[in-house]
């Protein structure tokens, strides 16, 4: 929920990236949710040293995650996001400033960020530093999907500090390390999610109550990756990310990517990603009684879980050598299949008494598919 945004641009030597325009379509389907997204991006150099970029994105959500559906009705919502970016290149330093505004009927997020990127040691090394400041306004819809009645329940502030180093190691091998510290304060819970506690007086054997989150949260993430150019013109990338925070969540991400171009027209990519996390210290699927501890959460995102992603991407250059004002034109299709396994979050929407007593319901798991299709033209 918290918007910690940072735009880091990787600039080769003393030149800003090419002008470009993209139109993008996406669909996420799984876990009771269907989310369709549409986006348009345009980037242009005003001078050789100054570029601007703008993006407009719409998400349409239908359905809701299981812990919302377990005690609420289906959600329909639309999120609109607008962003603008300025880039300035001076000698070997690129300065980037951006602003993002995201609005949905029960959540407003605004982020301003700044970064600088410096090439050094004969352009073998690129150092990047960044800062982002986010303000979120959180609401709760007490009406229905079709007749909403939104009450604003709180604010959350977030600051993200980033540092990155990209290094050319050999003529075939590059490596990259990124560190990001994010600190949040304010209303950090999801108002639609509840905890449950044992209650023999309730027909289900448990009752629901509001989550109580700490009003601060600080996280640290470090990511390292390496990319190697194979002799027959292909590339393999290995990535690892370590995450830890003050809520007790520890996450490890492992990813392997393979990129294979064919002639000057096709690029095929395959990827495998595995992610595992521990639960937050104040998380429980079932609390022993109401008010059993100061902070309580049953948000599935804070449960112990793992997920595996397999993805494939194909890019076709329909204008490989350009045409008139276009240097190049491509169309890209990307599909990812994600399998989520929860290790201490149970499916109480579909299972319960008399077959399953509270705390013995099957653990929740689901699969999701993500489709992306976009057209890109370069000027």
């Amino acid at each position: 929920m918290v918007a910690a945004l940072l735009l880091i641009r990787s600039t080769i030597a003393d030149v800003l990236p090419d002008d470009r325009a993209d139109v993008f379509y996406s669909k996420y389907s799984g876990g009771g949710m269907d989310i369709t997204g549409y986006s348009a991006t345009a980037r242009a150099k005003i001078t050789e040293n100054f570029a601007v970029e703008a993006n407009y994105f719409i998400d349409k959500v239908s359905g809701a995650s299981i812990d919302v559906l377990s005690q609420a009705s289906v959600i329909k919502d639309e999120r609109k996001q607008k962003s603008g970016t300025l880039e300035y290149l001076h000698d070997k330093t690129t300065y980037t400033a951006s602003y993002v505004s995201s609005v949905e009927r029960d959540y407003i997020s605004e982020t301003a960020s700044f970064s600088l990127s410096q090439s050094m040691f004969g352009d073998l090394t690129t150092l990047t530093l960044g800062f982002a400041d986010t303000h979120n306004t959180v609401g709760e819809n007490n009406g229905t999907a079709d007749v909403p009645n939104v009450a604003w329940v709180g604010h959350a502030l977030s600051r993200a500090y980033s540092g990155g180093l990209s290094q050319i190691l050999t003529k075939n091998f590059i490596a990259d390390v990124n560190l990001q510290v994010i600190t949040d304060a304010g209303y950090l819970a999801n108002p639609y999610r509840s905890i449950r506690y044992l209650d023999p007086l309730n027909a289900k054997g448990y009752s629901l109550a509001s989550q109580v989150y700490p009003d601060t949260h600080t996280s640290t993430a470090v990511q390292v990756q390496g990319k190697y150019y194979l002799p027959y013109r292909a590339a393999v990338t290995a990535l690892y990310r370590y995450y830890t925070d003050t809520w007790g969540v520890v996450g490890n991400t492992y990813e392997l990517d393979y990129t294979h171009p064919v002639l000057n027209k096709w690029i095929f990519e395959g990827r495998v990603r595995y992610y595992k996390q521990t639960a937050a210290s104040f998380y429980s699927d079932l609390f022993p009684f109401a008010g059993s501890q100061n902070f309580t959460a049953r948000d599935q995102n804070l449960a112990a879980l793992d997920n595996t992603t397999i993805g494939a991407k194909v890019t076709y250059a329909f204008l490989p050598d350009g045409w008139r004002i276009f240097k190049r034109g491509t169309v890209t299709a990307d599909v990812s299949r994600i399998r989520f396994n929860y290790l201490d979050f149970r499916n109480i929407k579909d299972f319960g008494l008399p077959q399953y007593t509270p705390g013995t319901e099957p653990l929740y798991q689901f699969s999701a598919t993500v489709y992306q299709l976009f057209l890109s033209v370069y000027f």
Partner: protein, 77 residues
């Protein structure tokens, strides 16, 4: 060794390293970087696509950050 001596040694080592780094010659010459300029060697060819996947993951996982991607805030129920 006393702490102050260790700190001084560390500072001197750092200064020597930085000053020697300033005179380091690039071990990969510009004419050897043709493969690195290949689009398949870019860290992120399609920021709009990777940003979208980062957004999905941050909405479904408890971790965030250090991906270098762009995203926006959302309720993400």
């Amino acid at each position: 060794m006393r702490r102050s001596s260790l700190l001084l040694l560390g500072a001197l080592s750092g200064t020597l390293l930085l000053s020697s780094g300033c005179s380091l010659q690039p071990w990969v010459k510009p004419y050897e970087r043709d493969r690195l300029a290949d689009p398949i060697m870019a860290w992120d060819r399609d920021a709009i696509s990777s940003g979208y996947m980062d957004h999905i993951r941050e909405s479904r996982e408890g971790s965030r950050g250090a991906t270098g991607g762009a995203g926006g805030g959302c309720g993400c129920n």
